[in-house]
Symmetry: C2
Subunit: 165 residues, 2 copies
Amino acid sequence: MTDIAADGPSGRFVDGYLLYLLARASSVASAEFHEEVRARGVPVVVWRVLASLKGADEGLTVGDLAKSCLAKQPAISKTVDKLVGKGLVDRHEDAEDRRRVRVRLTPAGEAHVDELILAARAHQARLVEAIGKGEIETLRRALLRLIERAGAGAPPIDADATPDE
Amino acid sequence: MTDIAADGPSGRFVDGYLLYLLARASSVASAEFHEEVRARGVPVVVWRVLASLKGADEGLTVGDLAKSCLAKQPAISKTVDKLVGKGLVDRHEDAEDRRRVRVRLTPAGEAHVDELILAARAHQARLVEAIGKGEIETLRRALLRLIERAGAGAPPIDADATPDE
DNA sequence: CTCAAAATTATTCCTTTTCATACAATAATG
DNA sequence: CATTATTGTATGAAAAGGAATAATTTTGAG
């Protein structure tokens, strides 16, 4: 195994490397929409926080947000600070565990994220149209499976690890 | 189209959002190996630069490196500075265009990256084993197709755009 | 040939992220 | 219970990253 000559058509190692394909695909696919989001003056992290909160009616803890946004906890704490300042989210105590801070969308935040989600859905629809519905479903299933099983390889390492570029 | 109730099993929007699945899959899949890389004292950007240079015997320009590493040009210029300092790469003029700077691996850099690539291949092999060879091939094809066609949707936007977390 | 426009990289300045740590609350142990 | 360990969040200093810009070279137009 680990065939020494399995580098894909080009000579470069990276062109056949799965983790690179994943990162590149994510980057390329997100580029257009992230551009659109930032054109509205919304940093990508903010979009992720708001999008993660949408549908979480009980709110999410800072830690959950960090995982969901593929970011570290301190970065989320600071982003939440700003969003509280803008009145888009609020913090409130968790009844069961007073260490936790639950972050919820305010009505203003909800309205804001609804617009963004509309744009996201439109963009996704264009993507599906360009790639093909069947292909997208295949991809979605493969990604879900990868997400499920990826962390399982090396149990010793804690589930947190390091987000990604 | 853009079915308003197409959010996946959970209530949260993001759980059914393709760009999120891509980013999450990339993050989860890379987490383990990135941890391994950083445990050796190698920042992820450095790994990407070195890996991108492997097999590019003529060297790569700073701009090409930026694209390949999903980073911005100034970040790469600075990373290259450090790597030159460590003797892992060198800069030399491009004969055809003196604006360009070609970056090449030094013998020391080559040796260094060879070790890392060995580890990367081993990690990938474990991943393939965990997920299944067929599934991985399906995924690889879908990703390649996505990378090919993704930028095609909105021709006005330049190919650079924004990498991704 | 001359001059304006475009391209490539380095640099500066500012924002964001990260690491380390501190603090508070819960869980676990004896 | 009392004590220790663990978990969750915030904060401060340091590092990294990004936008804007300058300097140099090439390309294109007249």
